[in-house]
Symmetry: C2
């Protein structure tokens, strides 16, 4: 796989993440309106719109286009559970790299009441254990058994990400928490506790992507999508468990693709957004993205050499399903462009986004650079 | 807009269209399984899967991948009401033209019970007139008033398409109908009668697209996607009506793009699939695709120089919403490859697919060639 043309992120914005239940349409429009208000990008520039959401309204994307006053060529809604947003970004990149589009608006949005996206009802192999916390506990227990990972190491992920989100005015959770608070929080499915878990909430994010030529016209501060990796192996946990070595094989494969396409190595990454739906998934992501060796993710939390989840991740910001992948790209693009505000990581030049869905049965990895 | 690489259709298959209510997942798999059974294409070749459906199951595409035994890079569901299938095909083409994918499987599927896709509930400007038959009657009455189009001319579209579908073993309606039967059928919303209207039903279709190199390896009979045009202007009828001249402006714009990209002219088209959700929409499509002059669509039915809707169109085959655009491309690809069976049009070399959604607020046009 190659990318025939590098694609630029020329703008991004994210809404406040909340427990409120706004209209999915108004929520979808919010961050795009902020971009049109605060940048020189005119809505007539946009010729492709993709809305990433697991919410069920028909014709969502065309309705959002009308509400935003955009008359694009392509317009559609796209979903793939938690992995929706990153796939939408990758799809928009392919439109541009193919020469079909010069400027694409990707919107991710979800409302808290869309409970159908929280469980994979189809996967009957899980029996009554169809909530994500159950696979998280399986992974956590296996990782502890095989590698000696501790509940304290997992808790440190939550402490770190909540410390980060305390500086992020858009985050759902603005208060820091202590190691003791995580360890003593309510057990949901042993060893996963309440504060090991992200909170599915309402939120939206928008990213505008452009071809080289269009980016030159519209911004003097582009960030480039240098590599994209995607992999799907299955949908059900039973299929997954037979293959894995306490790791997300889809993440490993997507990471290999993204590093290769971008000609970057794990040690080049300065800042990363990892899919911390649970503390254990961030620890496993360290390993499966090759930031550390398999089995050493637990230790990596304290040794961390690069800045991971500076906005607070899913644990700190909340996890609006179809929005998350877009918000992650919005954050890394803002970091690399030096416009991340209070959560800015100094001097970062290369960033990574990792997203996945349904127990890691599908994953996306993007490498971005200046 | 350009297309950096031509993309080949290397296989296609369509299910029987029915009034039954099969599982959306089993229905989605059917035509793809037929392709894997009847061609030399192995499922390991597929590295991109898009499922087009307005049905609401979460993670549909990844589940379908697991059921089919495919482990692609990209996998997602995509929708945009009646226009979903063609957008899915265009998206897959962009993946390939961008260099992200060498072989993409696009599946369109819908079940009859998915009633949420039949009306655009959001469009409150329509008041109680939110069923598609109401906008069809508005267009029909305006076209009659302005251009002298007659109910008989509209009825002839139904007679033609039902004659075609009588030869198509997959069609929902296998019996021919007469002009009198159409004219005397139940009035739904004057002047639209029951037999002027397509029937929303269950059905699925699959198309496999490939890069030049991969097509060379997998088939000796490729058909090429030579041009793609897409346009969205709005979502609500009130916005549309203020702009139109008894025509689908989105179709006109999409057609201009597709002719330009393919370097083909309307007179080059030998065979076409047009969106005949109602008889009037086929008549208007003749005009808006520039196959005849504006206002002369009514006469064109009897003068027809090229073969339009040879499989029977939506009027004869039925209209499974998210499947339709894929089934249209499957049919034109089969026609140009000379594998259309009993509905084969002799000697056709260039074909066109026209699809649209929600009163023509968005349209897609594809030009295919040998």
């Amino acid at each position: 796989m190659e990318m025939r043309e590098e694609v630029a992120v020329i703008a991004s914005a994210t809404s406040r993440f909340t427990k409120k239940e706004p209209s999915i349409l108004e929520l979808s429009c919010q961050p795009a309106l902020k971009i049109f208000r605060e940048t020189n990008i005119d809505r007539t520039e946009v010729d492709s719109v993709i809305v990433s959401t697991c919410s069920m309204l028909q014709y969502t994307s065309s309705i959002v286009c009308e509400m935003l006053g955009i008359r694009p060529n392509k317009s559609c809604r796209l979903d793939n559970l938690c992995n929706s947003g990153s796939i939408a970004i990758a799809s928009a990149c392919s439109e541009i790299a193919a020469g079909f589009s010069d400027c694409a608006l990707v919107i991710g949005a979800e409302i808290i009441s869309n409970s159908s996206a929280k469980k994979l009802e189809w996967d009957l192999t899980r029996g009554q254990f169809n909530h994500p916390v159950h696979w998280a506990s399986l992974f956590a227990r296996s990782h502890m058994r095989k590698f000696g990972t501790t509940e304290e190491q997992m808790a440190l992920v939550a402490v770190k990400n909540r410390k980060n989100s305390s500086k992020n005015p858009l985050a759902l959770f603005r208060n820091k928490i202590t190691l003791e608070e995580v360890i003593n929080s309510k057990k949901i499915s042993d060893p996963i506790k309440l504060l090991d878990s992200s909170y599915v909430c309402s939120g939206s994010s928008a990213v505008i992507l452009a071809s080289k030529e269009k980016a030159k016209k519209l911004t003097d501060n582009p960030v480039w999508i240098k590599g994209i990796g995607q992999k799907t192996t299955c949908a059900s946990l039973s299929q997954l468990l037979s293959k894995h070595d306490v790791g997300f094989t889809t993440t490993q494969e997507a990471a290999r693709q993204a590093y290769k396409m971008s000609q970057k190595r794990p040690e080049d990454i300065d800042v990363a957004e990892l899919h911390d739906a649970f503390t254990i998934t961030e620890i496993m992501a360290y390993e499966d993205l090759f930031l550390t060796k398999k089995g050493e993710g637990g230790k990596f939390v304290t040794q961390e050499q690069l800045s991971i989840n500076p906005r607070g991740g899913l644990l700190g910001c909340g996890h609006p399903i179809g929005c998350t992948g877009v918000a992650q790209v919005a954050e890394i693009a803002a970091q690399l462009a030096g416009r991340a505000g209070q959560t800015q990581v100094k001097g970062c030049k290369t960033g990574l986004v990792h997203n996945m869905a349904a127990a890691g049965t599908s994953s996306s990895v993007l490498v971005l650079g200046q």
